[in-house]
């Protein structure tokens, strides 16, 4: 296709992806409030709209109209830049995540992905690494001991679990032979033993890696049971103590967008991406894979929220020793065993 | 097409800024950051020449430079922490006695 069409198609894809991601973030908040409410034997939001479905809209309007306080003792440039950094990096990783096959829209044949880079997985890992800056800088620029402690702890936790996260993915890379997310999904197509799908968690034997990834993902996104840095009873509110209104909303959005990115990666790398029964006319053939992908993400987010409502949180030293002394050796062992099996199978 | 000397000039500018920072700054951490800037400038030269002569060894060497920079940063920052604990200052001009 010509350069003009290419740019137009890309801009449309970016706009749609951002819109869908931001709506998903808002409704993940709704889902969390409902599910945690039910776990705690209460209703959750019910008043605004049916089943409280308009609650995120009401929250958005509230955040826009709230007074945006900037305390006088903060270091202004970084105080304002930190939530922006957090949210920008959280929203950027959607650029390399595929949600479906190639589709034919009119006369344009395009993949359902903003761009298919052949180091897509490394890009997502790189963006996750850069997201640590938002938290570290917000903790420091707030000029407040609780924020500084929360920021330092959160950043130390995130960089420690990034290693276990990355290593748990290397088994998948060995099996797929490529770092492009689309090719990893395509390597998981088909079935074996008749009916079990060829996903990396079954055929590839990466169930240990999946659980390491799950736990490292909870720590990366600062969620219970690893959320000591933002625990209210421990550190006031950790690194976002001094933030109000829109800046706080940006941290909030960044956290949920990170959750969604991590869920997307798990679906792509371990659960077979968008594979599922596809039937019907052309338009259904294009949309059904997206539906199966969204179903996997929904299940993953539901598990996230379920764990949040159920488990208590780790103490900080328990958290760090869990990451370094248990998950990291386990991830390395998984890598060695996967490599051995791949070599021995020829 | 970008002529190779453009990459070399950019690499040289970065290296020169690193050397300048190393010489004029007084804070230990900023001096260390200037060292990292020098290493980055050199990395760019390596990759540019790798592309020029068509040998991938240049890129592999950049990988090794990064790993060595990581090790050096870890040890160097630990030394800086130890210096701060004993001398209570980060100004190199005041770290001028072998024994306090």
């Amino acid at each position: 296709m010509g350069i003009g069409t290419f740019i137009l198609v890309s801009v449309v894809k970016i706009a749609v992806a951002l819109f869908v991601l931001l709506t998903a973030v808002a409704y993940t908040v709704w889902l969390e409030r409902k599910v945690v409410g039910r776990i705690q034997n209460r209703w959750g939001p019910t008043r605004v709209g049916p089943f409280g479905l308009l609650q995120p809209a009401a929250d958005g309007i509230k955040f826009l109209f709230k007074e945006d306080l900037t305390p006088p003792h903060v270091y202004k440039p970084l105080y304002i830049a930190a939530p922006v950094i957090a949210v920008v990096f959280a929203l950027t990783s959607i650029a390399v995540i595929p949600v479906g096959n190639w589709v034919n829209v009119g006369h344009i044949y395009t993949p359902l992905q903003i761009t298919d880079v052949n180091i897509g997985l490394l890009i997502v890992l790189g963006i996750t690494s850069l997201g640590v800056y938002g938290i570290a800088l917000s903790g420091w620029s707030s000029n407040n001991k609780y924020s500084l402690l929360g920021g330092l702890r959160a950043s130390a936790q995130m960089i420690s679990y990034e290693i276990a996260l990355g290593l748990s993915l290397v088994g998948v890379l060995i099996l797929s032979g490529s770092m492009s997310l689309r090719e990893i999904v395509q390597a998981q197509s088909g079935h074996f033993l008749g009916f079990i799908p060829n996903w990396n968690i079954f055929r590839g034997g990466q169930f240990v890696a999946f659980f390491i990834y799950l736990m490292a993902a909870y720590a990366e996104t600062n969620r219970i049971p690893f959320d000591l840095p933002e625990a209210e009873t421990e550190l006031v509110a950790g690194y976002h103590t001094e933030y109000s209104a829109m800046k706080f909303a940006m941290f909030f959005m960044a956290e949920y967008a990170n959750m969604i990115t991590v869920a997307c990666l798990a679906a792509l790398l371990f659960l077979g991406g968008w594979s599922g029964p596809v039937f019907g006319p052309d338009i259904l053939q294009a949309i059904l894979p997206v539906f199966w992908f969204a179903l996997r993400i929904f299940i993953f987010l539901f598990i996230y929220i379920w764990v949040r409502g159920t488990l208590p949180r780790f103490r900080y030293d328990q958290l760090m020793s869990f990451g370094w002394k248990f998950l990291l050796p386990l991830a390395i062992a998984n890598l060695v065993i996967t490599a051995l099996v791949v070599v021995l199978k020829g | 097409m970008v002529p190779l000397p453009y990459y070399l000039i950019l690499s040289g500018i970065l290296f020169a800024c690193g050397v300048t920072g190393f010489l004029i700054k007084r804070n230990i951490i900023t001096i260390f950051i200037s060292i990292e800037l020098m290493l980055n400038g050199v990395n760019l030269s390596f990759v540019a020449f790798a592309a020029q002569w068509g040998k991938l060894s240049g890129q592999v060497f950049v990988f090794f430079v990064m790993v060595v920079a990581a090790a050096e940063a870890a040890v160097g920052l630990a030394i800086i922490i130890a210096v701060y604990r004993t001398r209570e200052t980060l100004n190199v001009d005041q770290v001028n006695l072998l024994k306090l």
Binding site: L122, A156 | P5, G12, C17, T20, T30, L77
Partner: protein, 175 residues
């Protein structure tokens, strides 16, 4: 001739130089560290323009995402304030030195551009995907690879020992 490659190189080259000069101009080390992160990000794009995608990804993940986070940590931990200017800097050195250095670099740049006889670097000249770098890394350069892994291990041990609290020395007498 003006190509997209040249325009992108100039834009990100300008970002690199601006970041480097900002690093020198700032007085607080946190601003210098963040300027260096910007320089590293722009350099990663320059590597991508040269086709070195693995090196660009490693630059972002390792250099900008781990080493610089370590720097920012230490700055936050030590509460490094704005640095003090040492008295007795020479104004003459600054007035003569900066134009002198600029003249020297302009001379070197002119010589390089006109007399070096090298050809232009095409965008993505040398494909540097992980699949192509890996055989070199694990066959030709296996010994340096293993040696750097031991180096990193030694560095970890050294950093832990150097940064540990002096009060935890069990040989300290408590009478």
């Amino acid at each position: 001739m003006i190509s997209v490659h040249l325009v992108l190189f100039l834009i990100f080259g300008a970002v690199c130089v601006a970041g480097a000069i900002n690093l020198l101009a700032q007085s607080h080390p946190i601003n210098s560290a963040l300027s260096l992160v910007v320089v590293m990000g722009a350099l990663a794009v320059e590597y991508l323009l040269l086709g070195a995608e693995f090196v660009a990804a490693v630059q972002v993940i390792v250099y900008a995402g781990a080493i610089m986070v370590l720097f920012v940590f230490v700055i936050m931990l030590l509460n490094a304030g704005t640095e003090e200017r040492t008295k007795g800097g020479s104004y003459v050195a600054m007035i003569v030195g900066i134009p002198g250095m600029l003249a020297g670099s302009a001379l070197v740049a002119w010589v390089l551009l006109t007399h070096s006889g090298t050809k232009s670097v095409v965008a993505g000249a040398l494909p540097g995907s992980p699949a192509q770098v890996a055989p070199l890394l694990f066959h030709e350069f296996l010994l340096p690879f293993e040696v750097t892994s031991i180096l990193v291990l030694v560095a970890i041990m050294g950093a832990v020992v150097l940064a540990s609290h002096p009060n935890s020395d069990p040989k300290k007498e408590k009478t």
